[in-house]
């Protein structure tokens, strides 16, 4: 079972990492902004191809060796899990190294060819673009939040039914593997975590909605299409994942109160189903958004380009722009969002809840 889970996750990581250069924002190549008119440059195409081929090939070799290693001998579950985790990190590390290499090369290419020298930098927006925004409304989050409050009340009403040892952690097969003494606090712990997580997701949703819809002066329609797709589908994905988490954790909580509902194969199927939901959801999201700005042809008019924001992007990955009130901005290498590190609100939304969860877990 562990093998299957790790294998699926690793394949997923490998596929995404390999395809990234073809899924990112059209105007950004390996974290470097390239003016629209030079996007069809042959060297850029070559860099993309080389990156994908290298990462893809190495992934196949690594995954092949993993299968060979597992099949060649009797392996312990935790050995398989540990190696699986190491392999996942290795894959991410490999693709990151290739990214950094091509990031440097692309930067050099842009400088040598003086691609931004004679173009007038523009910023552009549409006054009506916010009316086209199709993100989910915030109040859909009330559904999971109310359900968790209900779960909390239900747990306390059935306090006597709870076992003396409250499970606090579950393994990949849905089996509880860590426990704590029963107290009113430990009985509520899981539901409170869930509630905190739901509030955090809601805050992320609200912050995303407030963040800028960035349009391109040279590719107005494709950038609009991409930004609106990113906002719409990421809000769906966030919500679906939260519903999944809510169901999974509620199921664990109910299983603690009524052990009989955890009998048989449900125990494995529910966490596994959750994993598949997250992976498939993310994949569809990445493809949908990744394709959203590739289909429309754009004619480049006049000697203009989008404002070169490379200086705000450290390594093409970390965004620091204190003039931009956005809390989240679109990632440069990947599909999704990253935080504006110059805006303290972002830290509060992302790191404070994580810190609270970690603190409670370790205290």
């Amino acid at each position: 079972m562990s093998f299957l889970i790790f294998f699926i996750i690793t394949v997923f990581i490998a596929v995404i990492q390999t395809a990234i250069p073809y899924l990112v924002n059209r105007a950004v190549v390996f974290g470097v902004m390239i003016p629209e008119r030079y996007l069809k440059d042959e060297t850029i195409k070559k860099y993309r191809k080389h990156y994908s081929m290298s990462v893809g090939l190495l992934s196949i070799i690594i995954l092949g060796s993993y299968i060979g290693w597992v099949l060649s001998n009797e392996r312990l579950e935790n050995q398989i899990a540990l190696t699986g985790a190491i392999i996942e990190f290795a894959l991410i590390f490999i693709s990151l190294s290739f990214y950094l290499y091509y990031h440097g090369k692309t930067k050099q290419l842009k400088q040598q060819n003086q691609w931004v020298e004679n173009l007038k930098p523009m910023k552009v927006t549409d006054l009506t673009v916010r009316k086209q925004d199709e993100m989910l409304p915030w109040y859909v989050y009330l559904l999971p939040i109310l359900s968790t409050i209900g779960l909390l009340i239900y747990t306390m009403l059935n306090y006597d039914l709870l076992p003396d040892q409250i499970p606090t952690h579950w393994g990949p097969s849905g089996e509880a593997d860590a426990f704590t003494e029963k107290t009113p606090i430990s009985a509520m712990q899981l539901s409170l975590f869930l509630l905190l997580m739901q509030i955090m997701f809601l805050a992320i949703h609200a912050a995303t909605k407030k963040s800028g819809i960035k349009l391109s002066a040279t590719a107005l329609e494709s950038s609009r299409n991409r930004q609106l797709s990113l906002r719409k589908y990421s809000s769906w994905l966030l919500y679906i994942v939260l519903l999944g988490i809510t169901m999974l954790m509620s199921y664990f909580q109910l299983m603690t109160i009524h052990p009989e509902i955890g009998e048989g194969s449900v125990k494995i199927l529910i966490p596994f189903g959750f994993l598949l939901l997250v992976l498939i959801g993310t994949l569809i999201f990445a493809i949908k958004v990744g394709r959203s700005d590739k289909e429309m042809e754009t004619a480049v008019e006049a000697q203009i380009m989008d404002l070169d924001e490379d200086k705000y992007w450290k390594g093409g990955m970390f965004y620091f722009n204190k003039n931009d009130p956005s809390i989240f901005v679109e990632k440069r290498f990947g599909v999704g969002w990253t935080i504006n590190f110059a805006n303290p609100l972002g830290y509060i939304i992302v790191f404070v809840p994580l810190l609270i969860i970690l603190l409670i877990s370790f205290l």
Partner: protein
């Protein structure tokens, strides 16, 4: 309505914003009663400081072009009867520009042609 800002020029961004919004109204792309985006949203979309947008909105309000209503945002005001004072202000702003055009080589006819061309452009939409 599309707003285009030149990022590296001597004209401050808030002035460019103000001018483009006024032109947008003149062309009929936005009309009286329409609301402008919130300061925060507008600034985030353009990736500029909120003060920049705020400054432009206050300038527009001072000119009597928009009304800033707490909570509902900035709403474009209907055009009213022009006051004498306003008329004087426009004349005093236009005069040096026309003078400059004459001094730097445009003749009367060319200036008239230019003005009617700009007026045509505003009527288009």
């Amino acid at each position: 309505m599309i707003i285009r800002i030149e990022a590296e020029t001597d004209i401050p961004i808030y002035t460019q914003l103000t001018n483009q919004i006024i032109e947008g109204i003149a062309r009929g792309e936005i009309a009286a009663g329409d609301s402008l985006p919130s300061v925060r949203g507008f600034a985030a979309d353009l990736g500029v400081n909120m003060h920049t947008v705020n400054k432009s909105y206050h300038e527009l309000e001072k000119k009597g072009i928009i009304k800033i209503v707490p909570k509902s945002g900035a709403i474009i005001s209907p055009s009213e009867q022009m006051s004498e004072e306003k008329k004087h202000q426009i004349i005093s702003e236009l005069k040096p520009v026309i003078a400059e055009a004459l001094v730097t080589g445009m003749n009367k006819k060319e200036i008239q042609g230019l003005v009617s061309m700009i007026l045509e452009e505003m009527k288009e939409k």
